[in-house]
């Protein structure tokens, strides 16, 4: 197990996939991180040297990802609510924000549109 950005990652995990396991890192960003450190696409965590793992972790600390990103999103929603916008209200009610109908099919809105303060 290797400690990558405070998370224990299995040795045989692909580096690209391990990076994508963090919230806020998708294919594109993972590609760029790999390119920055000259990591080929079939490289596994076990093939990385310790300085390289540290460098990747350092690079990731500079980025807004994971909990930090989630908090940022939540803060934006709370800001909308605080200034009394329609979008903020809809978020607080758990209803669609962008003018969708609410007769049926608002499952996603119920799931996602919340005021998350406890992140």
């Amino acid at each position: 197990m290797v400690n990558l950005y405070g998370v224990q990652v299995a040795e045989n995990q692909l580096v690209h996939k391990a990076l994508r396991s963090f919230f806020g890192i998708g294919h594109s960003v993972a590609d760029r991180i790999c390119a920055k450190f000259s990591i080929h696409k079939t490289a596994r965590i076990s093939q990385l040297t310790q300085p390289k793992v540290t460098a990747i972790t350092l690079e990731m600390t500079k980025m807004v990802i994971d909990t930090e990103l989630k908090r940022k999103i939540a803060d934006n929603v709370i800001r909308l609510k605080d200034i009394g916008t329609y979008r903020g209200k809809r978020h607080a009610l758990g209803l669609p924000v962008r003018g969708q109908k609410t007769k049926k099919q608002i499952v996603c809105a119920r799931r996602f549109n919340r005021l998350r303060t406890n992140i």
Binding site: D31, R32, C34, A35, K36, S38, H40, K41, T42, A43, Q47
Partner: protein, 462 residues
């Protein structure tokens, strides 16, 4: 018509005899009546704890006994499938053995032999086939497992390739001091036998005890599956893992020739290791194979030594040239695609192919591939046509193959096709005898393409 007597009246009257005991009817059982247990009284069981008001519902679920969870063994071990996929079978004991002459080094550039089949040297104590296998000269889809032993057709193009080697051999025999480098690209349609021509050239070179350096598939260098690293001094991207593999192959195939090569000066490998003047090249490569960090330096030492007078002749081959004429899948630190020519190994090969670098005596052969996305710049360069300035072609491709002879590998002539078909017939591949009608039919269907010809010969059998 209604019968005069009713049916009911025909019945026997039901008479019960008063003295005769009434028969006691039981259900059929094998248990003797005296040993049977007394029947349980009907009604709810007295000891039941069930609430008599509620009826017990029987579950509809089928109770399957759970199996204990076992740790499943994977169907294949790690790397086993790749090994199966890449396994090369060169003989088939079920095939009929065909007596053929061996492809010896005397045949280099022999025009008279064109159109005949020759077996690759695989006698007792002859390790040419093993060495070719180490160089990965055989490919999986070349139908080797259908035949008793590996045999190849001597073609017109084989003569042309042989002439390149012949010139170097003559130069060597004459004992002249100057450098001689023959450079050629084998180009043709799909399945026309470019890789087999490389194989034939390697066979001769190994027999002559040349140093053979072969890159069997250039695609492996550019698809981004091996590690890479930027080297500041040469501004190239090193691929240490690929270089180590290459050196491993070179070492396995040319051990004897490498043993005879002595270093002309001391070299430094990596930061610490040093090889001294007079050491054998075999030792250098053996050191480098164990440590990927030294591989690139050792490869340069090998190339450098082959450029010096007194070194043995060398054959440097690369298959699938098209693959290194398109951008690689590697990315630099700014996320730009790395040009294939900036990768160290393709760069080294192209330097030799274009004549920027050279062996003291050597042949450089490249073969194009038909299994590649379009490479317009390479096509234009191979056709030697003038490029329209408004065409956006890669400007680096043209100069990279400049000066190399282009050998057009064409379809088989009728004589060659006849020789090949006779061989198939003798090996038991073809069911029908080769008469003029069959030959013409199969030659016409395949248009003389060796790969298609094999297909048509095999297909009739099914």
């Amino acid at each position: 018509m209604v019968p005069p007597i009713l049916w009911r009246c025909l019945r026997m009257p039901h008479i019960i005899h008063p003295l005769k005991p009434r028969l006691c009817l039981h259900n059929f059982t094998t248990t003797p009546p005296f040993s049977a247990k007394p029947l349980k009284p009907k009604g709810p069981p007295t000891s039941s704890k069930m609430n008599p008001g509620k009826q017990r519902m029987q579950s509809n679920k089928v109770h399957v006994k759970k199996k204990p969870i076992l740790v499943q063994k994977p169907a294949y071990e790690v790397g086993q499938r790749k090994e199966l996929r890449k396994r090369i079978v060169l003989s088939n004991t079920n095939a009929i053995p065909v007596v053929l002459p061996t492809m010896t080094a005397d045949l280099i550039g022999n025009e008279d032999a064109a159109g005949a089949m020759f077996a690759l040297p695989s006698g007792e104590g002859d390790t040419i086939v093993d060495r070719l296998r180490a160089l990965e000269a055989f490919q999986t889809k070349q139908h080797w497992p259908f035949f008793y032993r590996p045999c190849t057709l001597f073609r017109r193009e084989t003569v042309e390739v042989g002439r390149l080697l012949e010139r170097v051999v003559k130069w060597e025999a004459a004992g002249e001091d100057g450098r001689v480098n023959e450079r050629a690209i084998l180009h043709g349609y799909y399945g026309c036998g470019r890789s087999i021509l490389l194989l034939q050239a390697m066979t001769w070179a190994l027999q002559k005890e040349w140093i053979v350096i072969a890159i069997p598939n250039a695609q492996d260098l550019v698809i981004g599956h091996t590690e890479y690293e930027f080297e500041g001094s040469s501004h190239l991207w090193l691929q240490k893992a690929s270089t180590t593999d290459l050196l491993n192959r070179v070492l396995k195939a040319n051990r004897k020739a490498l043993k005879g090569m002595k270093l002309s000066q001391s070299y430094r490998l990596g930061r610490i290791d040093e090889v001294r003047k007079g050491d054998s090249m075999e030792r250098v490569l053996e050191t480098a194979v164990l440590d990927p960090l030294l591989a690139w330096d050792a490869f340069n030492v090998l190339l450098g030594e082959l450029g010096l007078p007194g070194s043995p002749p060398a054959l440097f081959t690369l298959d699938n040239l098209n693959q290194i004429s398109i951008p690689s899948k590697y990315r630099d630190q700014a996320f730009n695609a790395i040009h294939s020519h900036d990768l160290a190994l393709p760069n080294a090969f192209l330097a030799y192919l274009s004549g920027k670098r050279g062996f003291h005596k050597g042949v450089i052969l490249a073969a194009t591939s038909s299994k590649c996305s379009r490479t317009l710049a390479l096509d234009a360069a191979l056709e030697c046509r003038e490029v329209d300035p408004y065409e956006r072609l890669d400007p680096r491709i043209g100069p990279s193959i400049e000066g190399a002879q282009i050998i057009r590998v064409d379809s088989l002539s009728k004589e060659e096709a006849k020789g090949l078909m006779d061989y198939y017939n003798q090996s038991g591949i073809m069911k029908d005898p080769v008469d003029i009608a069959t030959f013409n039919e199969k030659y016409a269907v395949s248009a003389g393409n060796p790969r298609d010809l094999f297909g048509t010969c095999l297909r009739m059998r099914q």
